[in-house]
């Protein structure tokens, strides 16, 4: 039973439909790239070819870090962070916190990119995060994540755009919840076969019903991530801290009650990391050291979820004495409701709370949401088929629907072709744009709809099957026997995933669907004998 009367339902339906018509295709791009970005860690590992297996935080690094950080400007000793991405690159970033003339909060310092094994400097840059060149090894996964997060538009406009798309999705989810008269029944609706439009409508309702709660969660958390830094922090800082964003950031992060500026050397980082690993039972993922070289220096080690746990944890050490000080909440110095709630926002958006299993579910539900977006648009345009404007709009649906995955495929091809050359990040973007343009040309030149879909599916099938081969041949990636000996199951799984998706597309080209495959064959009719 709907809670809205007829007039309210009509208005909600108008909002539901028109918001999708105006921004649905952009929303589709963001949701599809988000579904792929759920696997960004695995894509980074996979596109890096298996060379990122050496975990820098499990090997001695104390002397090298001290050697690099000690001589720097003391302003950059405010915080030192060390992080290794999925592709294997190690980032050391000693920095200070500043507010720019425009009032934005920035981290300014020196960023080193280090070789994971020798810890030799591969790249050294000074400035704020936005000044740094992208990492070569992780160009592909970064490209996909940036496309999802800010559509590659400059900050803060890209984040505003994705935030507004988050609001559009939120309004679609809320109106969908209110409009559903029989939500439970719709979860089990069998698509009718009496007409194409009815069948599509039933499929839209079926996929939409299952992905409604998921869409709501994704839209809410996604809008939060887009607006938190661009609008949230500046507004809250203005209201509660007179506009001082650094003060607001430090209040949220939590600062030690007692300050001790006396100089003191950093205690053995290797010993503290080893102790932390033994204490938590999982490998550290990244670390930060605040007040480097002072008696009040703190080392915070972040661990991913230990066996049987859903969330990771931060562990704090006195970095001058090596003494363990306890678990630090995400925000503030003591456990609080705000920190506990925020700790769930990331896992709920990224789907990384139960390893690969939850990621697989998030990818599937994300793809279901893409299906709902496209079928919703199809239904809208089919109902208005008499109008030339809506017919043009209906042609854009397969172009964007297939063009976005083809663009991602082009980005992957260009990444492998240019890696380990001087600028794979640039060529990855070029590959995406070139493949997108090719998709648009295909869409405009092939007029017949079924032939167009099959052509797109054929290109996708060939491209996906080729990707694992290109990974090994062009980008110096490791082949399966070497990966098996290393225990790198994820890269093999990713290769298999590409092959399965490619074969799935091939099956669509050949017209083999699951329904046709399982449908009982009609019984053979006895041959008619000519009458004697």
């Amino acid at each position: 039973m709907s809670i809205a009367n007829k007039a309210q339902s009509k208005r909600l339906l108008a909002v539901h439909g028109w918001s999708a018509v105006i921004l649905g295709l952009f929303l589709y791009v963001v949701v599809l790239t988000g579904s792929v970005a759920v696997l960004s860690h695995e894509i980074g590992l996979w596109s890096g070819g298996g060379h990122g297996h050496h975990n820098v935080l499990e090997h001695p690094l104390h002397d090298r870090i001290v050697e690099l950080v000690d001589p720097l400007d003391p302003a950059y000793h405010e915080e030192v962070s060390l992080f290794q991405n999925a592709a294997g690159s190690v980032f050391l970033f000693p920095h200070g916190h500043e507010t720019t003339d425009e009032g934005s909060f920035v981290e300014k310092g020196v960023r080193y990119v280090l070789d994971p094994v020798s810890l030799e400097i591969l790249q050294r840059e000074e400035g704020t995060r936005s000044d740094f060149a992208p990492d070569h090894r992780s160009a592909l996964d970064r490209f996909i994540v940036d496309l999802h997060v800010r559509l590659h538009a400059p900050n803060p406009w890209g984040l505003f755009a994705t935030g507004i798309l988050g609001f559009v999705m939120l309004s679609a989810a809320i109106s969908g919840i209110i409009l559903h008269k029989h939500l439970i029944k719709d979860l089990f609706v069998a698509p009718r076969l009496s007409g194409l439009l009815l069948n599509r409508r039933d499929r839209h309702i079926l996929a939409g019903s299952w992905s409604l709660p998921f869409s709501f969660i994704l839209a809410f958390t996604g809008a939060f991530f887009s607006f938190a830094g661009t609008i949230g922090l500046p507004i809250v800082a203005m209201a509660a801290f007179g506009g001082d964003q650094v003060k607001a950031f430090e209040a949220v992060r939590g600062t030690p009650a007692i300050e001790d500026e006396r100089p003191a050397p950093i205690y053995d980082l290797d010993a503290m990391l080893a102790e932390s690993k033994e204490r938590v039972g999982s490998t550290p993922q990244f670390l930060t050291i605040s007040n480097w070289g002072r008696a009040d220096a703190k080392l915070t080690v972040f661990h991913g979820p230990a066996e049987g746990k859903i969330q990771g944890s931060n562990h704090v050490y006195n970095a001058a004495t090596g003494a363990y000080e306890g678990v630090k909440p995400l925000f503030g110095e003591k456990p609080s409701l705000g920190s506990a709630v925020f700790a769930w926002v990331g896992p709920l958006h990224f789907g990384n709370f139960a390893g690969l299993m939850s990621k697989a579910i998030w990818v599937a539900l994300g793809l279901a949401t893409c299906y709902v977006t496209l079928t919703g648009l199809q239904l809208w345009t089919q109902r208005r088929h008499e109008s030339a404007v809506w017919r043009s709009m209906s042609r854009a649906i397969p172009i964007v629907g297939y063009g976005t995955p083809l663009g991602l495929l082009g980005a992957a091809f260009a990444f492998f072709a240019s890696y380990p050359g001087p600028n794979p990040a640039y060529w990855t973007a070029v590959g995406f744009i070139a493949a997108s343009i090719a998709s648009i040309i295909m869409g405009l030149t092939i007029r017949e709809r079924t032939q167009l879909s099959r052509s797109y599916q054929g290109v996708l099938a060939a491209g996906l099957v080729l990707l694992p081969i290109l990974r090994v041949t062009l980008a110096e990636g490791l082949w399966w026997p070497q990966l098996i000996s290393q225990g790198s199951v994820i890269i093999i799984t990713m290769d298999l995933l590409m092959l399965v998706c490619g074969l799935g597309c091939l099956a669509m080209v050949l017209g083999i669907t699951f329904e046709r495959a399982v449908a009982p064959r009609p019984a053979k009719q006895p041959l008619m004998q000519p009458a004697e």
Partner: protein
């Protein structure tokens, strides 16, 4: 009010007015929300609740039968939020 006038009024309420109200509600949250054990809950929830601060007035504006009542509620909520924000400014 004519049908077009009502439509425009609803668009203004559900569009720019709901967005501005969401920003005011977020800015005012540190004033009334409990600070919690770690003195951060009022800041974290102000930012965390922003999507809800937009979604509630938006849905309300779309569903409202009497637009004058929705406008009055928007105005009153906005004014109360502005007073809270002014009070915080005075304290800093």
């Amino acid at each position: 009010m004519t049908w077009n006038g009502r439509l425009i009024a609803r668009w203004v309420l559900a569009g720019p007015a709901a967005f501005v109200l969401a920003i005011l509600l977020m800015a005012a949250t540190p004033f009334w929300f409990p600070k919690g054990a770690s003195n951060i809950d009022h800041l974290v929830f102000a930012i965390f609740l922003f999507p809800a601060y937009w979604a509630i007035p938006f849905t309300f504006a779309v569903m409202a039968e009497k637009l004058w009542r929705a406008s009055a509620i928007f105005l009153a909520t906005g004014l109360i939020s502005v007073l809270m924000i002014a009070q915080m400014f005075n304290q800093t």
